[in-house]
Symmetry: C2
Subunit: 209 residues, 2 copies
DNA sequence: GTCTATATATGGATAGAC
DNA sequence: GTCTATCCATATATAGAC
């Protein structure tokens, strides 16, 4: 910490610029020139710091993955009862979808890219992916005690992500399809906070039908 | 119909090849050369028939959109009771996700592309987008008669698409995140047929909680 | 209609001065 | 560390022969 609060160091500025561009356009659509402009430097410096587009992208993807999966971690390994966890996960994903939709959109869409072998590598790095074992056990215990209908943790997560996060992922398509305004969409997402948790909680504790 | 069943005409072969490549790689990742190879012709012919990559892409996207939205149309305007419609929509999307996931993945991910003004144009063309009015009325009637809890058709569609289609959209991410094998994923999707309809039907007819 | 050859542009990457 | 200038590969698109 030499002087005081100076402009962010170059490497950081590049990473921020790259995040923005890669998240908006994906790997194939991104241009090194645009990243350089966004960071207020020239292309050569990008290569000086990160060697290649691939490597710069890896950094960005890894950071995004950590950010996305990291937020779940805390909730997953807390000691709260299952019911609370479900509610908090729903809250989390609706909020993410409202405030930082870029990250999950980026992760989910880019994970489709062919020949992106490093996606596999990266996600298998230590500490990136969340551990679902605690929750799996918790479900098993509740089920054994007859308090809930048994369910695979995979199914539960698909429910939560599908009900809460999907609308944000599919937003451009959904708004067009159903003619929803931006404000209308925001409101619709807000509604899902309670709707999603209610549906899931019901399916667990209230297995009617 | 000149002779009899000959090899598909060039224009059709190109469209099929282009569909395959664009769906796999998106607009930015697709290469005209790969499309030409896939169709068994050379690049020049692509331009002879479709003039530019943009225009070829438009054709592909339009066809995909019609295919995707068209499948909903029939269900939406049928005369069956609401309950049946929900079940059939769930069935439809799980099946699509299992058998032709490329189409919804393509539509949903490509709809994010910047400066794709023609997406708007295209989706506003006559007969592409489904009409949700009949279903909206149906919901209103059921609610007025006190048979269901009132709900916006947008919310209902988000439930259906989220529960049934999202897993297929997010498949690469989900499998990595939760360590699911291909076969395991297929089974998980199958389970959602009944699970999704049950949850949604419950939320409509059985508003506990 | 279909091909080969080529024009033209652009993007990622490097060399080398400062 | 940062810049300008440039290399080189590749991508879209066109010209023109057959």
């Amino acid at each position: 910490m030499e002087s005081t609060a100076t402009a962010a160091p170059t490497e950081e500025r590049i990473l921020e610029a790259a995040s923005k561009v890669f998240r908006q356009r994906g790997f194939d659509g991104a241009r090194m020139q645009e990243i350089a402009d966004e960071a207020g430097i020239n292309k050569a410096l990008l290569h000086y710091y990160f060697r290649s587009k691939e490597q710069l992208y890896e950094q960005v993807f890894r950071a995004s993955a950590k950010e996305f999966f990291g937020s779940i971690l805390i909730i997953l390994r807390s000691e709260e009862p299952l019911r609370e966890k479900v509610v908090r996960l729903c809250e989390l994903y609706v909020t993410v979808g409202l405030e930082h939709p870029y990250i999950p959109v980026f992760i989910i869409t880019e994970a489709h890219r062919k020949g992106a072998g490093f996606v596999a590598r990266m996600l298998s790095e230590e500490g990136v992916l969340p551990d679902f074992e605690p929750m799996r056990r918790q479900i098993a215990e509740e089920a054994a005690a007859g308090r809930i209908r048994p369910i695979a943790v995979e199914q539960l997560m698909m429910d939560i992500l599908g009900l809460c996060l999907f609308p944000a992922i599919a937003r451009p398509m959904m708004q067009r399809m159903m003619g929803i305004s931006d404000e209308g969409f925001r409101q619709a997402l807000e509604l899902r906070r309670s709707r999603a948790s209610r549906m899931i909680i019901n399916s667990l504790y209230n297995p009617a039908g």
